[in-house]
C-alpha cells in the first residue's frame, strides 16, 4: 500500500508539466475509470477489449501494432487520421457516430469537461514522461503484490473484536462519528453552534444559489423554487416552497448543509448555513431583514404549514380494500368513449 503512495507522488510531478493548462489530467484519471474496463495505460499496458492507450495524443489512429482494429478503424487509419485533441474530442463525444461500425461499444462522454480532462490524462502517457504506474488495474497490481509477498499475516493471528454478536466491524471513533453525523431534527438535535444574519445570508445566496434558484427564490428555468406560493396549496397549480409547504425549519438547515450548493455539497460552514437559512426565511416573508438566526433561537421559528401534515391514512379510503367481489360483467352502462388523450405524443424518441 505504501508503494502506491509513492507512485501517486511521481504521477503528480508529471501532471505539473502537463501541456494543457485548462484541462485537468487528475480529474481525467477519474473519468478514465469508465474506460478502464476496456483500455489499459501506462508501463506494461496490454490490449484488453480495446487497445492500450499509450502514445495516443498526436499519433495516427489505429496505430497500436498487433491490435485487431475494426474495419471502421482500419479505414480511419487509411484516411490518415491523426489523433489531435480536437479529433479525440469529437470521437469521445459519440464514438459510434464518429466511426460507424467501431468495436468501441461505448455511448461517449457527453460533458465537454470530462472529454478535455480524459484527453489531458491520456496525454500524460506519451513517449518519455510516462508515470511508472500501471494505473488502471489496481486489483491486478494488488494480486501480484499479494502473491509475491511472503509475509502475508497468518489468519490465526487476526485480532477478534469483542463487541457484538458475530464480532464483525470495529468500534467507530468519536472523530469519525462527528465527521459523518450531520443530521438535524425538528427538535434541534444535531444543530451545531453558530449563527448568521439575513444580510450575510443574502450575500452568500446571491453568490452561490441565485443562478439556479433565482434572486427572489423564484427558481430560474426548471430549477426548484424556494420562496413564495403562499395560499396556493388548494390551487390547480400549487407552488410548494419553504414558506408555503415545508413543515420544519430544521429541514432547510439540514438539506442546504448536506446537499447544496448543487455540485459543491458540504462546502458551507455552519455560520454560512445559519445565514442562508435566515435569508431563505426572509425571502419567504417569515422574518425581517435585520434577523439573526442562531442555535439558541432556532426552535422559536415555526413554518406556517407545519400543522397541515398527518400520518398516512390511506387504509381509511373508500374501497381501499375490497369489501365484496368486484363486478365482472356488464359493470358500466354504454360503450366506452375517449374523454382525454395523452397530451404529449412525442415523448418516444424514434430509433436513437
Amino acid at each position: 500500500m505504501s508503494d502506491n503512495k509513492l507512485v501517486v507522488g511521481v504521477f503528480a510531478i508529471v501532471l505539473c508539466i502537463s501541456h494543457n493548462a485548462f484541462a485537468d489530467a487528475e480529474k481525467g484519471r477519474a473519468v478514465f475509470a469508465q474506460c478502464a474496463g476496456c483500455h489499459m495505460v501506462g508501463e506494461g499496458a496490454q490490449a484488453r477489449f480495446g487497445p492500450a492507450l499509450n502514445n495516443m495524443v498526436g499519433q495516427p489512429a489505429a496505430g497500436v501494432a498487433g491490435y485487431d482494429y475494426s474495419q471502421a478503424f482500419k479505414q480511419l487509419s487509411k484516411d490518415g487520421l491523426v489523433w489531435s485533441d480536437a479529433e479525440l474530442d469529437a470521437f469521445l463525444k459519440a464514438p459510434m457516430q464518429y466511426a460507424s461500425g467501431t468495436k468501441m461499444a461505448y455511448p461517449g462522454l457527453s460533458a465537454e469537461e470530462d472529454r478535455k480532462n480524459v484527453i489531458a490524462y491520456l496525454a500524460t502517457f506519451t513517449a518519455t514522461d510516462q508515470p511508472a504506474e500501471q494505473v488502471v488495474d489496481r486489483k491486478e497490481t494488488e494480486n501480484t503484490i499479494e502473491q509475491s509477498n511472503q509475509s502475508r499475516p497468518l489468519a490465526r493471528d487476526a485480532i477478534l473484536p469483542e463487541h457484538g454478536v458475530l464480532h464483525l466491524g470495529r468500534i467507530a471513533l468519536p472523530e469519525e462519528i462527528a465527521a459523518w453525523d450531520i443530521d438535524v431534527r425538528p427538535d434541534g438535535m444535531g444543530l451545531p453552534e453558530g449563527s448568521g444574519s439575513v444580510e450575510t445570508g443574502g450575500e452568500l445566496y446571491d453568490a452561490q444559489c441565485a443562478v439556479c434558484h433565482g434572486v427572489f427564490g423564484e427558481g430560474e428555468g426548471r430549477w426548484p423554487i424556494l420562496a413564495g406560493g403562499h395560499d396556493t396549496l388548494e390551487d390547480e397549480r400549487p407552488e410548494k416552497t419553504i414558506g408555503s409547504y415545508w413543515p420544519y425549519l430544521s429541514t432547510v438547515y439540514d438539506y442546504v448543509h448536506r446537499a447544496m450548493p448543487f455540485g459543491n455539497a458540504r462546502s458551507l460552514s455552519h455560520d454560512d448555513v445559519y445565514a442562508i437559512t435566515a435569508y431563505l426565511l426572509y425571502l419567504n416573508d417569515i422574518v425581517d431583514e435585520d434577523f439573526q438566526l442562531s442555535r439558541s433561537n432556532f426552535l422559536s421559528v415555526r413554518l406556517p404549514n407545519e400543522d397541515n401534515f398527518y400520518f398516512d391514512d390511506r387504509e381509511n379510503e373508500e374501497n381501499y380494500v375490497l369489501s365484496a367481489e368486484p363486478c365482472m360483467t356488464d359493470c358500466i352502462e354504454g360503450q366506452a368513449r375517449v374523454t382525454r388523450r395523452a397530451r404529449v405524443l412525442d415523448v418516444t424518441p424514434d430509433g436513437d
Binding site: 474496463g37 457484538g164 443530521d183 446537499a259 366506452a336 415523448v347
Partner: protein
C-alpha cells in the same frame, strides 16, 4: 457481419413491400399464404456461411445489436438537470418478472457516485451500545440472503394525475424494476451494534453528493430490510448504488438509499427533505399525508401499449402485463378489453413472490375492432386498484405520488395504441 444481416433484411423488406404492396404497415409476417417464396428461406444467408466472432470478442456480453432500441429513456423536460433526474425502464419490451440490470430505471439526486469498494465504509451510530464501522469485506461476513423485490418510485405514474399525458407504458409506469438482491439483513447489522430500547427509528444516509436520507421505523428495519451488494447475481450497478444499497421491500423507492454509508438509530423521525418537501401527498383540501411508505397494489398492460402496437391484424392476440403490491403477493389480475364493462381473470405466469412483480397473460381472438384495454390487480390482502376518476375524487389532482389507478390503452382498428381516459 451484423451489418450485412441488417442490410439483407432491409433489402428483403423493400422487396416484400414491393410485392405485397403492404401500404406502409408492418403486417408482413402474418399467416396469409405466400405467393412468392421467401428469399430468407430460399437463399443462403451470410450467417449461414461465414463464421461469427469467437469467444471473448465481448468479455462482458451485450444484448444483440438488433435489440438496440431496448433502452432506458428519459423525458428531458421533467427536471432541470440530468444529475438530479430520472429515466424509465422499457417495460413494453421485457418478459417474465426479472428486470435486466442495465435496464433498471435510474433516479439520482446528485449524479452517479463512483466509489471503490475498498474506499467504502458503513457506519452505525446513534442509540446503539457500540457505534460501529464496517468495510465491504466485513459486511460480506454476515449471513447472506437473496430475495426478489420490486422497487417502485413513489412518483411512478405521477404525471398522469391530471389526465393522460405520456404515450407509452415505459413513461407512465416505467419507474419500477424487479431484481434478485443479495445482501445481509439490516437486523443482523443492527444487532451487531446493539439497538438501545429507546431506538425507534433508523436514518439511512448515502455517500453521494446528495447525502440522501430517509426515516425508517424500527419495525420495518427489523422485519425485512436488507443491505444489498448484488443484484441478479452480480455486483450492484453503479447507478443502483454500487457498492451497497438499502432494500426496503414494498416501500417507496426513494427510501432504498444508494451508496449507503451510514445508519443512525434515533427515537424520532428526522423529517428530512425527502419526507417533507418531497414524498408527501398533497390532497385536494390543501393538507398533506406524510409517511405514505407502502406502494399500493398496481398493474399495467405492457403489450399491446403505445410503444408496442399490434402489427399482425385480427386473430390470435396476446395481452401481457405486470402486477405488484407493496403489501405482499398478487392474488389475481382481471383484464378488460372494453374499458371496464366486462372483465376476464388473467393467467398469472411464473413465480408469485411477495413484494415482487407478477407476470400476467390474457390471450384472445381480436376481431379487429377498437379496444379499450385495462387491467385491475387484487393483492392477497384484498387491496384493489381503482379507476382514475375514483382515485382523483378522493385525492384531488396534486398528489404527485402513489397513483395506482387503472390504466386504459386505446387500441385502434389499425393496431396503433394510445394512452387515453374514458367515460
Amino acid at each position: 457481419m451484423f451489418k450485412n444481416g441488417t442490410d439483407n433484411r432491409r433489402a428483403f423488406l423493400k422487396k416484400s413491400l414491393a410485392i405485397g404492396g403492404a401500404a406502409g404497415t408492418t403486417m408482413l409476417a402474418s399467416g396469409a399464404g405466400a405467393d412468392t417464396p421467401d428469399p430468407l428461406i430460399t437463399e443462403i444467408q451470410d450467417w449461414n456461411r461465414y463464421l461469427g466472432e469467437g469467444v471473448d470478442s465481448r468479455p462482458y456480453g451485450m444484448p444483440s445489436p438488433f435489440e438496440g432500441d431496448v433502452v432506458r429513456r428519459d423525458v428531458a423536460w421533467l427536471t432541470a438537470d440530468a444529475k438530479a433526474s430520472v429515466n424509465f425502464t422499457p417495460l413494453h419490451k421485457l418478459e417474465g418478472i426479472i428486470t435486466p440490470n442495465g435496464l433498471c430505471f435510474e433516479r439520482h439526486h446528485g449524479g452517479i457516485a463512483q466509489i471503490s469498494p475498498e474506499d467504502h465504509r458503513i457506519m452505525i451510530n446513534g442509540l446503539v451500545d457500540n457505534p460501529l464501522v464496517f468495510t465491504m469485506e466485513d459486511l460480506k461476513r454476515f449471513p447472506r440472503h437473496s430475495e426478489f423485490y420490486f422497487l417502485e418510485c413513489a412518483a411512478n405514474t405521477g404525471m398522469e394525475w391530471r389526465g393522460a399525458q405520456l404515450n407509452g407504458c415505459q413513461f407512465t409506469h416505467g419507474m419500477v424494476h424487479n431484481v434478485m438482491y443479495t445482501g445481509v439483513k439490516l437486523k443482523d447489522l443492527l444487532a451487531e451494534a446493539g439497538v438501545k430500547p429507546s431506538g425507534k427509528w433508523v436514518l439511512p444516509e448515502g455517500a453521494d453528493a446528495s447525502h440522501m436520507t430517509r426515516s425508517i421505523p424500527m419495525e420495518k428495519a427489523l422485519e425485512d430490510c436488507m443491505v444489498a451488494f448484488a443484484m441478479n447475481g452480480e455486483a450492484l450497478r453503479a447507478e443502483q448504488g454500487y457498492p451497497v444499497r438499502l432494500v426496503v421491500p414494498g416501500w417507496e423507492g426513494n427510501m432504498w438509499v444508494k451508496w449507503l454509508r451510514r445508519l443512525e438509530v434515533g427515537d424520532q423521525p428526522w423529517h428530512h427533505r425527502e419526507e417533507t418537501s418531497k414524498y408527501t401527498d398533497l390532497l385536494g383540501d390543501g393538507r398533506s399525508r406524510r409517511f405514505t411508505w407502502t406502494m399500493d397494489v398496481k398493474s399495467v398492460i405492457t403489450s399491446p401499449s403505445p410503444q408496442a402496437p399490434i402489427n399482425h391484424g385480427r386473430g390470435r392476440t396476446v395481452i401481457t402485463g405486470l402486477a405488484w403490491s407493496g403489501f405482499g403477493k398478487i392474488d389475481r389480475v382481471d383484464v378488460s378489453i372494453d374499458g371496464g364493462r366486462n372483465w376476464h381473470t388473467a393467467r398469472l405466469d411464473g413465480p408469485s413472490l411477495s413484494k415482487s412483480l407478477h407476470r400476467f397473460y390474457h390471450e384472445f381472438d381480436w376481431d379487429g375492432s377498437e379496444l379499450f384495454l385495462q387491467s385491475r390487480a387484487i393483492d392477497e390482502q384484498r387491496h384493489v386498484q381503482k379507476t382514475k376518476n375514483a382515485l382523483r375524487k378522493i385525492r384531488g389532482e396534486n398528489s404527485i405520488y402513489h397513483n395506482n389507478a387503472i390504466q386504459t390503452w386505446h387500441v385502434k382498428p389499425d393496431g396503433l395504441v394510445e394512452n387515453v381516459e374514458i367515460s
